[in-house]
Structures are given as structure tokens and as C-alpha cells.
Symmetry: C3
């Protein structure tokens, strides 16, 4: 066998040039780039890891000025220099801001801060960052009541975040907003569906290419008969409290309506499975959610079986679900496997799972990676981390196994980073 | 350390020559070989993956002639060329049918089809295929009412498939067949046991060397008192419906009877744990079952503890059970770890688990691999896939770790592919 | 990339010289060394594996003389020569007893036995073994009623084993002992707490640096209101049986008292999660417990959230919990990840998990390894096994990934083997 390091390096060169479609991010379209260093250092990966390693979270409060907050955070981040998350900071500083001091520290941060602020003021900075990152389009995550009229759809692709529609419709405020943006009085399940339809229409017209939802562990979808759904909707609209079984029916009912709308408007539904919210009471903002072991995707079977015509792009948060998801991508024609989410976005987990996907799932059904980023600057180090893992796995576990040659490896990488997303989402 | 690639290649050379005992397959003894290409392409791995990637399953219907079905299936299989399953086709075509066109396509399939048909007509083809595959004996999976009188026991070893006895005895048709083949009227638990005894006797006389059963996820065995079992058997025989707890008792009761018979006839019970049947409603035939995450083997403890004298050869379907199974193989004297089943039959899962087994379980208690094949032609690429993984793991994780030298590695491989099966099953 | 084997070897050289703090063992302070070979061969890893491979456990009975027991056990251990556990024996025989025959067999054991007996008689043998093993301090596991007055705290660090306090307080005998050692009459929850406080005081005064508890699978901690705890304590003190919910409250109540005492005395609590005791009815002594798949750490959330000021050093027994634990170490500021316990103490599991820990958890929150040994002689081969894995992972997955250079790798190793334990436990 050829030296797999040389092969890996050649593959990485090719992979670096593929302009990727990033199918999931939290980038705000109006302010996609960091305005100052604090916008970068405030990323929850840094704050939660530094806090976990002992940093007082009071330091992170908005009221603490940069001059105090940043050096203390960076000192706290000494404890996480071993992590891959920390390497994102070093890499983006060097690659996007020509920061040549290596590790960002409490002694040298001002130089980087100036570079961030200076770059932020430049015309076309967002496009420049994307180009430096080999990213072509970035999906957004948009609340149903968000104004999409000013989204730059050359760079961005809206996506309807459905979490509160499914899980918070018992909240009169959420229903009120839905009535308002859809200009529809919700008085039964039909008008509820009509309101959702209007939201979908609005999103699709503004270039949205998917709905997206994040589900808690042990989420059990159920097929709800029309009459029963009607009863539950009536009950909630009349202001009564639902019991647990009724809540589940309402949630599944709405979830299924959204899936039906995905079918009608021919867009996939992106499902991120398994985040348990607010589990850690003492965490920093966005640093309180966890994954949960011991879970199964079987709660999704009613949904997946009910909508054979809708494509579900699934991501999971717990390693224990990886092989089950490979199984689903392997036999369910409407399941696409997507990315490596959050707590699984670590090379060791990525590479093990990536190998399985490449060895056992149709190559047309794999969306390699998404950034999940909050600011565009993180696309570069996150995708580069993935690109290195992809090159390694393709060299060792694809070409090295005789599953294909170098050209086929590049072609598979292109499908996973770009072509599949283009086809599946129609971008 | 020596170059582990060279060592791996030397080990692979040795391993390729070990004539294996294949302890689990679905080969039909009367028609063990493919008669035409369609028999090969119809393997559910190909059809389910092609369907998952977008192939219309109507194409697979028996009524569609080869000239239409095969090119469409092969075109559909373009999407799965990255997979290890697809590599099985390429390898068997080349190695068993001298097909020299590389990948089988909609343009070149006829040549391969002719080769398959021509080979099928040759005297001694089955033995020839086995020899080309370094396989000595192949276990079958036989229904309790199967006629074993014409099984060629030089090549094949019958195995009593117990699934319907355990899980479908509430069905009068199954009981009727059991009464018929055993020539025993089932009127209570004693005569039920007698009927099963007769079946066992028949099987053992015809060369059977094991009973085999496939269990669903979360299968809970229970110790049932004689009187209680009697009551449940009476109830089902009198035509009444059992409730869930009673069904569990009946199933465990029969399962324990079979385990007792395994003890009496001194054959192991092969237990395949964790297939959830018919979960995917839109799948192709044999492409609707899934594994399930979040499960545990603890439901087997009553069984394993009740029969210390019976050897249980365990396989699992979900990666989350692999380490638990290693634990069982490590301390339970009556548990043997067997093969890499179905959705875990992928190099990445095999090698991780194989490393654990070799590092932590007595080498005498490992049955390396079985084919699970439906036609003999799949033995070659499946075992070869395993042999490569075994050589790699032995080179890197056994010799490379200093756990043994090259000779001990070969000796361990021989035990895992042949010697252990010979000793454990008495073949 | 540099040849990672050379780098690994250099790292290993450095790592071998780091004097480690071993934060968990079962070494008896009064007899820390093996007196004869049987003390070594009696380690449950050897006996359970040999029994699993077919050895009659009657051979292991104390009444069987060495001349019969040892050759039979060693013959039985032929079947486990592939395992890493067996390699511990070979390595310690060679490194600690100058045994130059390689594998210990039924033919050559007497020579080793003589060497063990001769070494046992030497002054300062324990210190010598520790020095040969690059181990500086060894934590003990001490029952609450143990006399610590003669523990050599230069070598050993007592640790309060809390299992029976939490799980067996319904047993009058346990309560009686607690009253005796604390000289406190337990008549309500306050006096119970006072008794525990006295135990803590005694332990801390004698150099104890942690409490330690082992929890069963699916252990659910609960926050219990004072009045409710009082009621349950009253009930048990009055001799009444508790129902399951009450037992859980009593256990959690005591567990929380102990956590509070850890806070007061500023020592961490070591939590070993997930051992199911006495699951295998036919096992050898200490060879009957198992891990359980399908579990989650979420049952610990009430505890972890209730004591933000107490450090919990967590270990798990099932691979399915590894990534969840990484998640906890990543965001919970009071969770430290500790070692690779028992059934996960196998290179393949260690290296996968170690890579994740190094890539995603603050380096200050990792306690690399502990021996869990019963005699000091096992520290050498167990730590050496870990050191090799650590060197490999640091070379390939840390330096090789560009997460740090060689110096930083050594520095991280030093923290994981020594510095973190020193800081966290205050030794």
C-alpha cells in the first residue's frame, strides 16, 4: 500500500478547493461577521470550556468591559489549550486576521481585536471570509416570525426553525405571533395548518430551502387521528391545560403538519436529535445543554414511516445513536445523514462515524458537515477540521480499503461537501 | 516496531489459507449456488441500499424480467459504489466468475450473467465455490419442520431455527406443524416438551450442531415456575388469548425448554440479539428490519444463569451492546462471542470490536466470523473482508502491542476461524 | 508529518519518568505487597478469565494447596494468553521479580513463587515496588469503620468508601457500627449527619483526601426535602421497612450529606458509576459483577447541580457512557473525568476515550489513570499499559493533529498523571 500520509495530503489539497454548502448555522444575516474580538471569544465553546475549567462566569457578563473580560477569559482558556475547540481560535486568528503571534493570550489580544474591528468595517467582508473558507452558501436558522426581506440570498439560505411551533404552541404568546405573521385566526386544526402554510409560503418565497427542528432525548412521535388532534387543539385554544399525552399529541400533530408542508413545498426537514436543554444549572449562556446516553431513534419511526416523500436530514448528539443512524441512512430511502453535531463535533467521533457512513451508506445520502456557527469566522476552522478528518478517512478507510481510487475519493468528498446538499436542498 | 503493513500482509497470507467453519448462514442446501446473476443481485444488501438511494422498488418485483430489472438495479447501485457491500459484488464477480471488467454495470452485466449460469450447471460447483473461498463447512438455518434427509452433511451443518417455536406458539398453525412433525399431540407442557424433544432428536440425528434464535430488542427472559407455565400452556391450548405477561412466560418457558434440550443433546444455542422486525414500512423484502440503540443484554441474565452447562454463542446488532458482550464473554463461562452481525458487519465496527475481543476475552471463546449468506458465492467476499480486518487488527493491536508474536497471531486466527467452532460445536 | 512511532517512543520515555499519583486502589495498607505468587495469581482478572475459559472454580478454593491450585490455574490461563490482562502477569514477573522465563507456566511457577516470597521479606519492599513503577502515592479504599492509625501516609492516601453508608443504612448492623465508630447515637437525621461528620473528621485527620462511592446502573439521585428525609430516617430507625421510593430518598439523603461533608472538608468525591453487582451467579469471587449498556448519567444531575462547590471525579463502566461523560467534563465545572475503570481498562477502549478527552475536555480536568489494584505489584503493568496508550494517543491525536507540540504533550501527560491529582485532591 502506498504511504497513506502522502495520499491524505493530496486528497486534502483537492478537498480544500471544494466550495461547500453549509446546511446549518446560526449566523445572523444582518451581522454575519464579528465586529470585535469579543464576538469571537464569546462563542459558547470557549466560555463554557473556560468556565468548566474554573473561570468565574461573572467575568463573562455583558457589563464587564473588554479590557477586563477578555484577558481573564484568555487566561482561563489556558486550561483548554489542548482542545480542538481552542485550535479553532488560533486557526481563524491566523488565517482570517493575519494574526502571527500563534496562541491568543491576555498579552497579545489587543492586536487581534484591532484586526477584527478593522476587518469588520470593510465592504464585502462576509463574502471575503466565505471565500477564504471555501464556503459558497450558508444556511441560516430563522424563527417563523423573522423578517427575511433583507437576507442576502446569494450568500445565505433561510431555514425555518420549527422548535417553538412544535413545542411551545401551548404558549398563547407563540400562537399570537403565529396568528400575526400569518394573518390567520387560529380557531381549529385547519386554521392552524393554514397559518403554518402561510409561514411556509413566506419562507419559500424568500429562498428558504428547509425546515429545521431540534428534538429532546426520548422524543416519541405518534400518529394522531384527525378527530383527536382537533379535540386537543380545541382544548388548548380554549385555554385549558393539556396533560402529558395530549401535549405529545399536539406536538406530534404540528410536527406532522410541518412534515406535510415540507412535502408540499418540496424541501427537506432537518432534524437535530437529542439535546437535553438546561440540564446544567450553573452553566454559562448556551452552555447548559447536554446529550443523553441510552436513547434510541425509534421514537421517530412513526414520522419517518408517515412521510415517505419527505427527506429527513438527521443529526444526532450522542455517540450511542451513531450506528443506529447509519442503519437508518442505509435502509430508509427518506433519511439523509447530516454532519457531526456539537458534542460529536470532535475529530475522534467524526472519524469513527464518518468511516462507518462511507463504508455502509449510499454516498449520495451523506451531507458531510455543517458549521453550526454563530459568526462566519468559525466556518474556516470548523470546516478545515472536518476536511482534515475527511482526507484522512478517505485515504485510510476508502482508498486504503480498496473501496475506490483517488479520483473516486475526491468525487465522494465533493458530493459530501457540496453536490448532495445542492441536489437534496435544491440550491 | 516493524512496519506493520508488511506484518499484516504476511498474516493475511496465512489467514487466507485457513479453511473456515462458517457457523451461520441462510444457504438453502438444495440450491446453495446462484443459478443466474439475479440470484446474486437480489441479495437484500444490494436491493435495500439501491432502494435507499432512490431506486423504485417496483423494479425489483419478480415479474420484471432480468433485462429490465438488472440494468436498473445496477444503475441504482452507482450510488452505493462507495460501500463495502458493493465491493462484495465486484470481488465475487472477479474471483468466482473470472469477470474482468471491474465494476458490474448496466452495460456489462450480461457477460457476468452468462458466467453465473454456466458455472451453475457444473458438477461440484458448490464444493468448488467453497474451496475457492477457503470455507470447509457451512451451517444452515433450518425451520423445525424442514426435511433434512437430503442435506449434504459433508458441506453443510443443519441448525434448528427456533424463532417461531419461541415467538409464535400461540399461532395454532405453528402448533399444528409441530404436532405433525413430532407426531405428538400437544396437550400440556410435558407433551410440548416431548414434541420439542422429538424435533431435536430428528435434527441431531441428521447432523445438526446447534439451535439458533434471533431475539428482538429489550427481550426479557424470565424464570417461569412449572405450575405457572402449565397454566399458560393450558390457556393457549384452550384457544384463549394471552396477555403480555403470559406471552412472555410462554415464550421464556419454551426458550428454556430449548436451552435444556441443547444441554441434553450437547449442542450450543446461537443467539442473535436485537433485530427489530418490520420497522421500516416502505422497505424492500428483507430490508425493513433495524437495530435499536439504548438496549442492554441484561434481559438474558435469567437464561444465562439458569443453564450454566449450555454454551450460548451470542451476536448483537447494535454497537452499544458490543462492550457489554465483551464483558459477558470475559466472565460468563457459558458465553461465546460470535461474529459481526448484519448492520455491524462493516469493517469500522468489526475492527473496533475485534480489537476489544482479542485484548480482553479468552481466545478460546471467540468465533471470529460467519457469513450470514443466502448463496454460497457471498462467502468469499464476506470472509475476505473479515480476513483483511483480522490481519490488520492482529498486526497492529496484537503483535504491535506485544500481546503475542506472529506465530501466536496466526494460531489465534486459526482458533477464531476454525478451531473454536470445531471444538464448541463438535464438527 | 514526522514518523509518529519515533515521536511516540520519545514521549513514552518522558512519560515513564513521571511519578504518578494513583487516586484509586484497593491495596490493604498493612499488607500492600504479595507475600507469595498466589496473592498475585488470585487477582480476579486472572481467576475470572480462566474460569470463563473453562477452569473449574473449585480449584481456586483457599483449601487447595498452591502445588495443586497454581499449576491448574496457570494451565487454565493458557486460554487467555492473548489478553492484555495476561500480559500484566508476564510484565510484572519480569520487571519486579527478574523472572526471565517469559510466560509464567505450570512448569516454571515455582521459581517465580520463590522470588515473590523472597522479595516480600525485604525491608522497604513496598517503596521499592512503587519506585520501580514510577508511582509516588497510592490512594486506598477504606471502610468507614477502619482503623487508619497505622497507615503509612508517605506512601498511602486514605479514602472513605461510602457504599455501605449510602446503600446499607437500612441494615441495623451498619448503623450500629456507625454509632460505635462515631460515638454518636443515631436518633434522627441530624444525629445521622453528626455521626457522618465525625467519621469524616477522623478520616481527614488521618490524611484522607476523598470520599469514594460505586453506584449501580440507572442510579437516580433525588433532592429530598428535610422534613421528608426526617420522616424516612425516623421510619427506618423505628425498625420499619422502607418501600422503594423511601429507600431511594434515604440513599440520596445520605449521599447528599456526604457530598455536603466533602464540601465542608474540601475533598472531592470519587464516583464510580455503573457496576451491577452479583449478576453472574456462577462466577468466581469478585468475578460476578457486570457493566450495563443502555444507561445514562442523567440520574446524577440532581447531585451535580446541588453541589456546585464539590468536585466529583467520575468514572464509568460502560462504553456507552464515555461520550456523555466527556460532555459532562466539558461543561460541568465540578466534574473531573477520572481513569478507565475495570471493564473499560482495555487499550482499545482507553485510547478511543482518551482521544476524546484530550480533544474536547480542559486538560486540567483529566485524571488520566488509576490502578484499582489489590496489591502494589499490579501498579507497574497497569500504569505501563496506560502510559503506552497515552504516548500513542499524544503522538497521533494531539501532536499529530497540531493541537500542541511535543513539549506540550509531555506537559499534558504530567498533568494527567500527577499534577491534576495533586491540585484536585490536595496531595
Amino acid at each position: 500500500m502506498e504511504n497513506s500520509t502522502a495520499l491524505r495530503d493530496r486528497l486534502l489539497d483537492e478537498i480544500m478547493d471544494i466550495p461547500v454548502i453549509d446546511v446549518h448555522s446560526h449566523v445572523p444575516a444582518a451581522e454575519p461577521c464579528a465586529e470585535r474580538l469579543r464576538d469571537i471569544l464569546g462563542y459558547h465553546y470557549f466560555t463554557e470550556l473556560a468556565h468548566s475549567a474554573g473561570l468565574d462566569k461573572a467575568v463573562l457578563d455583558d457589563s464587564v468591559p473588554d479590557e477586563q473580560m477578555i484577558p481573564q477569559l484568555l487566561d482561563g482558556m489556558k486550561a483548554i489549550r489542548n482542545t480542538v475547540q481552542h485550535s479553532w481560535l488560533t486557526e481563524l486568528a491566523s488565517e482570517l486576521f493575519d494574526f502571527d503571534k500563534g496562541v491568543v493570550t491576555s498579552d497579545n489580544w489587543q492586536e487581534l481585536d484591532r484586526a477584527v474591528q478593522s476587518a469588520a468595517g470593510q465592504q464585502g467582508r462576509a463574502r471575503e471570509v466565505l471565500e477564504a473558507s471555501s464556503i459558497e452558501r450558508v444556511f441560516l436558522t430563522n424563527s417563523f416570525d423573522e423578517d427575511l426581506s433583507r437576507v442576502d440570498t446569494d450568500m445565505f439560505v433561510p431555514s425555518l426553525r420549527a422548535d417553538n411551533l412544535v413545542f411551545e404552541l401551548e404558549d398563547p404568546e407563540v400562537r399570537g405571533k403565529l396568528e400575526e405573521v400569518s394573518d390567520t385566526e387560529i380557531k381549529d386544526s385547519n386554521s392552524l395548518k393554514a397559518a403554518l402554510h402561510t409561514v411556509f409560503e413566506y419562507f419559500i418565497t424568500r429562498g428558504a430551502k428547509s425546515a429545521a427542528i431540534s428534538l429532546p432525548p426520548h422524543c416519541e412521535t405518534v400518529v394522531v387521528e384527525d378527530a383527536e388532534l382537533e379535540r386537543v387543539v380545541d382544548k388548548v385554544l380554549s385555554g385549558q391545560e393539556l396533560d402529558a399525552a395530549e401535549s405529545q399529541k399536539l406536538q406530534s400533530g404540528v410536527f406532522f403538519m410541518l412534515a406535510e408542508l415540507c412535502g408540499e413545498f418540496e424541501v427537506p426537514m432537518q432534524v437535530m436529535y437529542g439535546a437535553r436543554r438546561d440540564a446544567y444549572e450553573h452553566g454559562v449562556p448556551k452552555g447548559t445543554d447536554i446529550c443523553q446516553a441510552g436513547d434510541s431513534l425509534t421514537g421517530l419511526l412513526p414520522l419517518l414511516n408517515s412521510f415517505p416523500g419527505v427527506t429527513f436530514c438527521l443529526s444526532v448528539l450522542n455517540e450511542g445513536l451513531n450506528q443506529e443512524l447509519v442503519n437508518y441512512g442505509w435502509i430508509f430511502h427518506n433519511v439523509v445523514i447530516s454532519g457531526h453535531w456539537w458534542y460529536l463535533n470532535v475529530p475522534v467521533y467524526i472519524e469513527q462515524d464518518l468511516t462507518a457512513r462511507i463504508q455502509a451508506v449510499p454516498g449520495t445520502k451523506l451531507i458531510g458537515y455543517y458549521s453550526d456557527m454563530y459568526k462566519l469566522e468559525f466556518g474556516l476552522p470548523k470546516f478545515n477540521m472536518y476536511r482534515r478528518s475527511l482526507a484522512k478517512v478517505l485515504a485510510e478507510e476508502f482508498v486504503g480499503r480498496g473501496l475506490g481510487d483517488e479520483e473516486q475519493a475526491v468525487s465522494l468528498a465533493r458530493a459530501m461537501l457540496r453536490g448532495n446538499a445542492q441536489r437534496i436542498f435544491g440550491v
